[in-house]
Subunit: 209 residues, 2 copies
C-alpha cells in the first residue's frame, strides 16, 4: 500500500497550490491540513518540533505516526510526487533545465510577485509597515523583469521545457496566474497569458482555492 | 568525447563556487570565464542574448559553438554535473530531501547571508543605500534563523542527508563557510562549524578563490 500523503498548508499560498496541482495532475490522493500563517499557526512549538523547524509551510507529510517523513520546500515536495513521471524530464540537460526554471521561480519570481500579492491582496496596503511600502517599487521592477524573461522564453515554446508540461510549468503557474493580485498586468506579457491558458487546459487541472 | 564545460562566473560569488566545488569533487574539468558583476558585465546585450536573458551568473555552458547549451541557476548547474553520481541520492525521499536543502539555501539562507556578505565585504558599508542599510537587521535575523535551523539539523548527523555528502552540503557550504564576512559568528553554531571542517576534508575539495 502506498504511503498516505498529507499537505500541511495555507490554502491561500501559491507555494502550497503547486503541490496540490502536481498531485492532481498525477492523480495522487492528497489529504490537506490548513494553517493560518497570518495567525502564527506555523510557529507553534508543536509545529516547529514535528513538522518543520523552519516554521514554514508547505510541508508534505509522507506516511503517518512515528515513521512519518516530513518534506518542507514546495519544489522539493513537487519533486517527490513527480519522480519517475513525465513531469520530470529524464534526459540529463532537460532535467537540469526543468530545475533551472524551478530555481528561477523561487529566487527571481516568488520573492517579488508572491510577496506583493501577499502584501496587497492578503495583508492589505493599509496594514503594511514603512519598510514594506518602501520595498514595493523594487519588488514591482523585479516581478516585471521575471515576467519579461518568461515571456521571451515562452514566445517560441508550448511549455517551459518544450512540447510537454513539466514541474517548471506547474511551479511557475502558481503565482503567475494570480500576479494581477500583486499589481502586475499579465496582458503586457502575451506569451505568458497564452501559456496560462494551456496550463489550465491540462487533464486533471484543479484551480487554486 | 564529453562536451566541454565552461562556467560563466564572478569568482567572488558563492553561487559560482558551488559549481566549481561540485566539478572538483567529481573530477570534471571546468573552464572558467570571469565577469565583474559590480561593473554590469552580465547586463551587456551580448550576455543577455547569448548566455542568460535574466542577466545573472553563474551560467554553465555545455559544449561550444552554435550547439552550445546554457544553464543558469547554480543549483541546476550542480544538478547537471552530479546526475548519476552519489552526490544526488537515488532513493525517492532522499533525493527530494537533498533538493529540499538546496531550496532552503536559495530561499532562506542565500538572500540573507550572501547578500550581507556582498554588501559588507564587497560593496562596503559606506557605499550602501539607505534602503540597504535599513534591510541589514532583517537580513541578520533571517541569516541567524537559517544557521540555527542548520545547526539543529546537523547536530545528530554527519552530512545534511545522512552519512554521505550530497549536493545539499556543497550548495550550503558555499556561503556558510564565509558567513563571517557578512557579520555572522559561526562559533555560535558548533554543529555547523564541525560540518564545515568535514566538507573541507572531502577528497578533491578546492577552496573558494
Amino acid at each position: 500500500m502506498a504511503d498516505t500523503l498529507t499537505l500541511h498548508e495555507d490554502p491561500r499560498s501559491g507555494n502550497c497550490y503547486k503541490i496540490v496541482l502536481t498531485a492532481a495532475l498525477l492523480g495522487l490522493p492528497l489529504a490537506r491540513r490548513a494553517y493560518d500563517i497570518t495567525r502564527g499557526e506555523t510557529r507553534t512549538p508543536a509545529f516547529l518540533s514535528q513538522v518543520n523547524a523552519n516554521g514554514r509551510i508547505p510541508v508534505l507529510q509522507i506516511g503517518a505516526g512515528e515513521g512519518a517523513l516530513y518534506l518542507p520546500e514546495s519544489n522539493a515536495a513537487c519533486w517527490y510526487l513527480a519522480q519517475g513521471t513525465s513531469l520530470i524530464p529524464a534526459e540529463r540537460f532537460a532535467q537540469a533545465d526543468c530545475l533551472r526554471w524551478m530555481c528561477f521561480e523561487q529566487y527571481s519570481h516568488e520573492p517579488n510577485i508572491a510577496t506583493l500579492r501577499f502584501w496587497l491582496a492578503i495583508i492589505g496596503e493599509a496594514n503594511l509597515s514603512p519598510e514594506q511600502l518602501a520595498a514595493i517599487p523594487g519588488k514591482t521592477a523585479g516581478g516585471e523583469a521575471a515576467l519579461a524573461v518568461m515571456d521571451k522564453h515562452l514566445e517560441p515554446r508550448t511549455f517551459f521545457c518544450g512540447a510537454a508540461p513539466s514541474l517548471a510549468d506547474i511551479t511557475l503557474f502558481a503565482y503567475t496566474h494570480v500576479a494581477g493580485e500583486g499589481g502586475f498586468a499579465l496582458a503586457d506579457y502575451p506569451a505568458v497569458a497564452a501559456w496560462i491558458e494551456r496550463v489550465r487546459a491540462l487533464p486533471g487541472f484543479v484551480p487554486m482555492d
